[in-house]
Symmetry: C2
Subunit: 387 residues, 2 copies
Amino acid sequence: MNEKPLNKQKIIKIIENKISNDMSYKNGRIISSMCTYPDTFGVELFSKYIDKNIGDSKLFPGVVEIEKEVIKMIGSFLNNRNCTGSIVTGGTEANLIALWAFRELSGKTRIMLPETSHCSLFKIANILKLNVDIARVDSNRKLIPQEIKKLIKDDTFCIVAMAGSTGLGVIDPIREISEICLDKNIFLHIDAAFGGFVIPFLKKLGYDLPDFDFSVPGVSSITVDPHKMGLAPIPAGGILFRDEHLRNKIKWRVDYLSGGITEQTTFVGSRSGGSVIAVWGLMKKLGMEGYKKIIKECMNNTHYLVERLDEIENVSTVMSPVINIIGIKSDLLDIKSIAKGLRKRGWAVSLFPEHIRIVVTPSVTREVINYFIQDLKEESECIQAKI
Amino acid sequence: MNEKPLNKQKIIKIIENKISNDMSYKNGRIISSMCTYPDTFGVELFSKYIDKNIGDSKLFPGVVEIEKEVIKMIGSFLNNRNCTGSIVTGGTEANLIALWAFRELSGKTRIMLPETSHCSLFKIANILKLNVDIARVDSNRKLIPQEIKKLIKDDTFCIVAMAGSTGLGVIDPIREISEICLDKNIFLHIDAAFGGFVIPFLKKLGYDLPDFDFSVPGVSSITVDPHKMGLAPIPAGGILFRDEHLRNKIKWRVDYLSGGITEQTTFVGSRSGGSVIAVWGLMKKLGMEGYKKIIKECMNNTHYLVERLDEIENVSTVMSPVINIIGIKSDLLDIKSIAKGLRKRGWAVSLFPEHIRIVVTPSVTREVINYFIQDLKEESECIQAKI
């Protein structure tokens, strides 16, 4: 470390120089990410209240009240205003909290994950020392209830289903899985880290999408991240439980805190109150109307991108997009080569085994899509010419 | 959730109203917390770069370089510029990463924790399904090497020692414990979440404190949190490993990210680049000189508070403070009643079974101490009068 203090302006200059080649969520060039450029009001609130530490909750009863409200606000569009939960660091912590809570409640050690799960769920299973059965998906990339039934073992305590899968934004048949879970007395956790701030608004806009939330009786908990399509700054994940008792076994009593005896319900201890206030304020600022407007625009752009793909030979969509996620595949061309070419042209694209994923966030405007289509066309022609 | 968008100014007014009774780290009334009011330059940088997501690291190579540098900067005052590590969400994630890494490397399931451990270590042991042996401390609240030796079992893979214990800021006899760990081939993790940004500067100021860092050969990893005495905003924890191979088993390959195949070394996935840049910039701004100055002032105020305690009958320090943490006890009066009284008088104090903990952070100025001593005096007299 430098012995002498450095000048602030000099420091910022060095930083700017170091990150000058980094990408940005702002200009749409990151066309494949579930994270977004955060709303400026959320950033303003985060910065303004950055000194609050809701980990020592009794010092900040106002922030605690705001967290309770924001959980109910999210619960209100997930069909359970009486849910409990926390604003956490992201989807990984949210998923850990759910699986940890259910492992402790059940005393069992086996879960079932869809093959379309986010990789963090496998990481969490490793951390929690859980045995994992992987459930296959059908040609529509959805879990198959009959297959799930067969896979359940005596020590299975939880099934995870996706509402907006990582690769293609698919929603699993959660009503049918719920029936199985209720019948077998197994917890059902929904990973809607991305879809939680998308599907409810699309439904209100008239999209015919399957139920995935607390309206389905067997759903025990939902991961829903404000720092994805909620447009809040990182870190802001969310974990919601149907009922308080579901997290009883992971409440960690901390005796010594400055605010007095506290029961922490998150994995982390010290925790940003700025995150909590930013999510609350941002949701108030946008309201249902604001989110609907944003998602509508994203879906319109999704449909626009799908249409424009028709112009390009030898590439097509994996399936008709369910939400604002598109899979681009090619039966003739090597998808890896296309991704490589697009990256060279300055596009940050997600590569899955058989497709490129596009996530149409608010930064992915029509203008961005037009440039992208142009580059994709040139790139695929270029690769085709080499065959 | 509200249907219609709300006005920003109105939202801020509601927030201000809700949190009007919350406490603040700024005025010193939170006189017992390891967290501090963050330095304004750190906040400025965090806010400026809040849109960076180092979880998708290949999109942000500049931020990755900054993280590598900041880990080396911290490593430089922990006597290992070649260490590796990450800026994480806090001490809990840092401790989890270390114990998870060592569990996976060793294939064993038992750890030893000092009875003075931070409670999060027990939480982590629960999550990781580890068996825990609790090592007693001596009358100076330090681990007893001979006792540790006796407690080691065949499946013990890690011993945790404290460098700045939660209750009293004590530094365990880490050189002696290191010998045992090297002899038995056991990992040694140091929880210096608080002490890591204190002890090195005190040593440079001439304080005679025991070695606790990578200069001790058996030390495998250190938790050291910039968001405590490093004065960075939350979230900013730190985990440092002596050597890259120590975290080999917990590198989680994520294939699909927009930046391309990535190996994540943290528990969380999406992760604030703002945190990383804030810590880097803040450390550059303060330099060794700046931190030494801050810690010197804190220690001077610590000694001042200890001196002033002499004026009060029936209260005393548990021990001569090692770092800027003081334990206040009373042989005659009920310490719980004193804490209760102080809280009523507007002081947020940490209560341990036999003492009140004071943490002399930069907000705890002489003026604050003078007010505190006045209140403590009145309160203890008041309680004594009731006996």
